[in-house]
């Protein structure tokens, strides 16, 4: 199978999934609230006949359910996710405003988490049952066992309040102004603007929340790295590689890791599923103005359009990441090309 065939086949599998997600979001939005009008409009608009009529018309509420879904899908394709009750702005605008903050945090957290996780897993597998293995495993277990909100609070208390070696809540020092908006990522925008001071402040504020996320993710990754590498290490081809006189570093790095990579990459893809929960909890603790704190506020104020908008966003991100993982398989595992 060549790459194009493989790619198209994956795309064909993803499309019905995306449609299914929109259908599920639509059903939740329409079946769960007793009255979609009460759920989607602010309280003071409920006396206004014109607003209600306009809302009915826009979402086709006087039509049968399947036509309502098509209207919903049409609005969705134009990027219309409805209007937030709380902020009174289009949900898509709120999201585009807050998403960069979360992307910045998640990217740093995931990169840190992968390095930490794969590193710990490698140590554990290579020196199995040694003291190094035990220490690495206990670190991994603490990572997955401590609720992220507790890890975050402890890091904040120890490193920021007690030792004063890390920056605390927020995205910047409160006397600083955000850099001119280009990407919305403060670190990147500050660099583009050549503003070193803002960059340092933005980066320092990212460290603690990103570390919290990384500790959690690394626990998952190091456990799977250890077990899948251990499985590979006992294989005949590893003995062959050693018998050929290859250096140990090469044996582990190229013959071992390459074969252990599939489950590791899978877990990294799946861990994106936890990203929304993680960002809700972490952003809550670090007063970080991203999508997570937006969702939290939407949830506590029953802001239904906002909740549904964010859920679609994260379901799409999850599908997108796992699509990318599927594509990666093609390059990691040559057997797929033959199948």
């Amino acid at each position: 199978m060549n790459f194009l065939q493989y790619f198209l086949r994956r795309v064909l599998l993803v499309i019905p999934l995306l449609l299914g997600i929109t259908m599920m979001a639509f059903l939740i939005a329409n079946l769960i609230p007793a009255d979609p009008i009460i759920a989607n409009l602010p309280a003071n608009a409920l006396n206004d006949e014109d607003t209600i009529a306009a809302f009915r018309k826009k979402w086709g509420l006087d039509k049968p359910l399947h036509e309502q879904y098509l209207t919903y899908l049409g609005n969705l394709l134009q990027g219309d996710l409805g209007t937030s009750i709380k902020t009174r702005k289009p949900v898509s605008e709120d999201i585009s405003h807050r998403l960069p903050a979360t992307i910045e945090l998640a990217t740093l957290g995931i990169i840190l988490g992968i390095f930490l996780g794969v590193g710990l897993g490698l140590v554990s597998a290579i020196w199995q049952d040694s003291w190094a293995d035990n220490i690495a495993r206990v670190i991994a277990l603490i990572g997955v066992s401590f609720p992220v909100f507790l890890t975050g609070l402890i890091l904040l208390n120890v490193l920021y309040v007690q030792l004063e070696i890390a920056e605390g809540p927020g995205r910047l020092d409160f006397i600083m102004r955000p850099p001119p908006n280009v990407t919305g990522l403060f670190t990147v925008d500050a660099l583009l603007n050549g503003d070193r001071e803002t960059f340092v402040s933005a980066f320092n504020h990212l460290v603690l929340p990103a570390l919290t996320l990384a500790l959690y993710i690394s626990g998952l990754i190091s456990r799977i790295t250890r077990s899948s590498l251990l499985e590979v290490l006992n294989q005949d081809y590893m003995r062959t590689a050693r018998a050929k006189g290859l250096r140990e570093r090469y044996v582990i790095g190229f013959h071992g890791m390459r074969n252990a990579l599939i489950p590791i990459v899978t877990v990294i893809g799946l861990s994106y599923g936890n990203l929304l929960v993680g960002s809700i909890l972490i952003e809550q603790i670090f007063a970080y103005p991203g999508i997570g704190s937006y969702t939290f506020r939407a949830s506590t104020s029953q802001d239904f359009p906002a909740i549904m908008g964010v859920s679609l966003l994260f379901a799409f991100i999850y599908v997108g990441v796992n699509f990318a993982v599927d594509i990666l398989y093609f390059f990691i595992d040559p057997r797929i090309r033959v199948a």
């Binding site: 299914g20 609230p33 929960v277 949830s299 549904m308």
Partner: protein, 295 residues
Amino acid sequence: MPSISSISSSTPVSASPNRAQRARYHLRRNPLVALGLVIAALWVVIAIIAPSIAPVEPLKQDLANRLAAPGELFLMGSDELGRDIFSRVLWGARITIPAGLAVIIIGSSLGVIIGAVAGYAGGLVDELLMRLTELFMAFPFIILAMAVTAALGPDIQNAVIALCIVWWPRYARILRGLVLEVKAQEYVEAAHSAGASGFYILFHTILPNCIAPAVILATLDIGTALISFAALSFIGLGPEPASPEWGRMVSIGIAFFDQWWMWLFPGLAIASLVMAFNFIGDGLRDILDPRLRGE
């Protein structure tokens, strides 16, 4: 966890005459399992006897002694209404442990049944159920939980229902794969030719042969269920605010960040319980999967 599904085929089902001896051997090789068992058992005992060992009623307020630091009066300090945190932490075990176990038992059973039916029926039923499974995996669990609580209102029971709804897909996937494997075995064909009904074959011939991996996965999963329940109640989708539930206590404690005892002790309670179950689960996997033993 891809290594789970391999356990069924690679585990020798030898009925060793000296099981106790082997158990002792494994416990000595995996001291963390023993530690996990002790901590988990301790928490279960605490949950049972909390009413008689807690020094104070968990809801009793002592407004004269609000936000007291840990000391003689309050072992773990007191909260913003002067309630004894130590007593509340002990009582919390009575909420979290049953909730976590309920999620595991109901959620995994649901997944086992759906996966088994999909794998056994095949064809269109299989296709539909598996697409549904993928859908539930892709949809953020927290949103489903929010939707459930929006519809039913936030309380412990609804948090458990919400988690059960999102818990089954992984079990369904694994069970489907196992059922497909077992379905091809000769003894299933034998049952067919003996005239057994489809229902009988699925539940009496096939399921008993693929239930073990689901049970192991469920054990590994207890920690995750406990932590997810705590996360839900942390963001207010669980029990009511006054309840001595650990996640809830931590989230209220954030407003009193400098009174660290308000969030640290309930947080550590969750962590220690989850860690105990993870120690057990991890060790169990090592013991049961001989390929990981490195012998």
